[in-house]
């Protein structure tokens, strides 16, 4: 079973700072990490490979530094990693990103065959979750989003069953292979990397492709040019003025809080009319 995992290097959004003068992100303030959801996707691919054999390949689009994220995937257990990196890819929104990744996937598909594509649920910098379904649409394979469990893989019949998380539970869905899954964190725990993987990763050098290495690329669909969306303005979210503090003894505080909660009276089924 050959599995391809799309992975992205992202700034660690929990420590990123905003430049207050320009209202833009100060990327240098945040270390770049492997998108956490993608780590789970790689882990799941490695787990499936252990059961069904085959190969795990990771693919990323990004600047040359993104090699570090690919090496991290090799630590988790990926066999091979490709980075597509080229100025002409830069500035891509989700539509242009899915196009570029799709072009690389097509080439890998021709070279080695792919039974399954995995993506993270979303990337923590863009938070969109749009790239996975976009790739699936381009490949004309089903996207199964928000997957929390792979129930069954039947390579003979070329199909698999997964659990998809939905708002009020989950659904069990069956799909033909190849298909594309986007995974939630619940799907697995990312294991500590075994030493041999660490050694392999340290020495590993991902394969880098430019636009020219891909076949039949429509340059107009790449990067900034190929992106229908653009960022208009950015501004810092309003900070609330801080809480109005309620003093007094705890009974008084409780009473006051209840009153404030009743500002949202419509939320509560306060019985009126009929006296109790």
């Amino acid at each position: 079973m050959n599995i391809l995992v799309c992975i992205k290097q992202v700034p660690d959004t929990k420590i990123i700072k905003i430049n207050p003068k320009t209202n833009t992100l100060d990327r240098s303030s945040a270390p770049a990490i492997l998108n956490p959801y993608d780590a789970h996707a790689v882990q799941e691919a490695v787990r499936l490979k252990e059961v069904h054999g085959g190969k795990v390949t990771v693919l990323s689009m990004g600047p040359p530094q993104a090699k570090v994220a690919i090496k991290k995937c090799v630590e988790i257990g990926a066999d091979e990693g490709y980075l597509i990196s080229d100025r002409r890819f830069a500035g891509a929104d989700t539509l242009a990103t899915s196009y570029a990744l799709y072009k690389a996937i097509q080439k890998l598909m021709d070279e080695q065959g792919i039974d399954l594509v995995l993506c993270g649920k979303h990337a923590i910098d863009g938070d969109t979750g749009q790239v996975g379904p976009g790739i699936a649409r381009r490949m004309e394979i089903p996207p199964l989003t928000n997957v929390i469990k792979v129930e069954e893989v039947d390579l003979k019949e070329k199909r698999m069953k997964v659990r998809r998380k939905i708002e009020d539970g989950y659904e069990l869905i069956q799909s033909e292979l190849p298909c594309l899954l986007t995974v939630e964190k619940e799907i697995n725990d990312v294991a500590y990397s075994p030493l041999p993987n660490m050694i392999k990763a340290a020495r590993y050098n991902p394969i880098v492709w430019t636009v020219d290495d891909l076949d039949d690329v429509d340059i107009k669909q790449l990067g900034l040019k190929g992106s229908p969306t653009i960022v208009g303005k950015m501004w810092p979210p309003e900070k609330s003025a801080g809480a109005e503090m309620i003093d007094g003894d705890v009974k008084k505080q409780a009473k006051a809080l209840v009153e404030h909660m009743l500002e949202k009276r419509e939320l509560f089924e306060v019985k009126g009319g009929e006296k109790v």
């Binding site: 992100l25 749009q130 379904p133 229908p228 409780a254 209840v258 509560f268 019985k271």
Partner: protein, 345 residues
């Protein structure tokens, strides 16, 4: 692309088991404003099986037109059928703006349709407007873990699409008897040509921890210490009919499951009321709840950061004040009339 041909504001109406999901009605509320500004029709897109009757609800909530495809093959959501059906409608009727609820299926569908019709899509928006001079849709959203707000524009492609978080927009008051135009369309897909099949849906109705759609959340942090503290919080939640949330530390202590977690690596929530009990207010927690309408914090530490993100705060020991709140509220609910409560059932 001739952009002049694209007119009208569309809302995808999600249904589960034939019941309309709230976010669709909320988006009709928001879409109504956009449509009025642009002086165009507001249209609902309703797909499913035996759902046609629900169109009249959509008119009452503000839709001028409803496009319906009622077909057994659409009974359960599948990307491949819904994407095809919606893609065909877009190509035929050409809307300029198209909104979807940012639910699991809404996001899945919007992403697939954006690629299908090759247009821009902005995810998880919380603020919608139009620039009338340029006739451009302005879709804004928190970006980078909530550190910044960004307005996303789609200048040269139509429709301009966005997913919108549930509970952010407001439903209009329904106008009973309000009518509109029902347009029925069909889908030509054969089951045997499809690649996916929904085998089962397991609805966790009893103890569904549906934080994203909750109106009231009572959230526990490490300050509640242990299972006993958690129980105390659950009791308050019970009386309020609230969903219980938690900080990551509480999840990591094994007191509750990850499905309760609010924050950057948990759920992003926008309830009308959020009560934070024994939560310090780390940024990773705050980005997940800061857009709640009314936030109340209880903490023993007067300098806790959570107070900066709250509307009301008390410096108090949770173990003293929470049981009092539970008791006090129980009384209020039972004697609303005496308190001057407005009837609401």
């Amino acid at each position: 692309m001739n952009m002049e041909e694209y007119r009208g504001v569309w809302v995808f109406i999600e249904q589960r088991n034939g019941e309309l999901v709230d976010v669709g009605l909320e988006l009709l509320g928001a879409g109504r404003d956009l449509a009025d500004k642009l002086e165009v029709d507001l249209c609902g897109i309703l797909l499913g099986h035996n759902v046609k009757d629900r169109a009249k609800d959509l008119f009452e909530y503000g839709a001028d037109k409803v496009y319906v495809i009622d077909d057994p093959i659409l009974e359960l959501y599948r990307t491949e059928t819904y994407m095809k059906a919606v893609g065909d409608l877009v190509r035929k009727y050409k809307p300029e703006i198209f909104l979807y609820g940012a639910t699991a299926n809404g996001k899945d569908l919007a992403s697939a349709v954006a690629t299908e019709v090759m247009t821009g899509l902005t995810a998880d928006t919380t603020l919608l407007d139009v620039n009338l001079d340029k006739r451009l849709f302005e879709a804004s959203r928190p970006a980078f873990g909530g550190n910044i707000m960004a307005t996303i524009l789609c200048k040269k492609h139509r429709p301009q699409m966005a997913t919108v978080r549930p509970k952010v927009m407001k439903k209009a008051d329904p106008q009973p008897g309000r009518e509109g135009e029902l347009i029925e369309e069909s889908i030509s897909v054969q089951e045997e040509n499809l690649k996916t099949k929904v085998i089962d849906i397991v609805r966790d109705t009893n103890k569904a921890v549906n934080l994203e759609e909750a109106d009231i959340i009572v959230a526990a942090g490490k300050g509640i210490k242990d299972e006993k503290g958690w129980k105390m919080v659950e009791e308050l939640a019970d009386v309020l009919n609230a969903t219980v949330g938690a900080s990551r530390d509480v999840v990591e202590m094994g007191i509750c499951g990850h499905e309760h977690q609010v924050g950057q690596t948990g759920a992003t929530v926008t309830p009308k009321l959020y009560i934070a009990i024994g939560i310090s207010g780390a940024v990773q927690h705050v980005v997940g709840m800061q857009n709640s309408e009314l936030i109340i914090a209880i903490n023993t530490d007067p300098d806790a950061a959570i107070f900066n993100a709250s509307h009301y705060g008390v410096v108090a020991d949770a173990f003293e004040i929470v049981p009092l709140l539970t008791e006090e509220f129980r009384k209020v609910l039972q004697s609303g009339a005496e308190e001057g409560g407005v009837a609401h059932v």
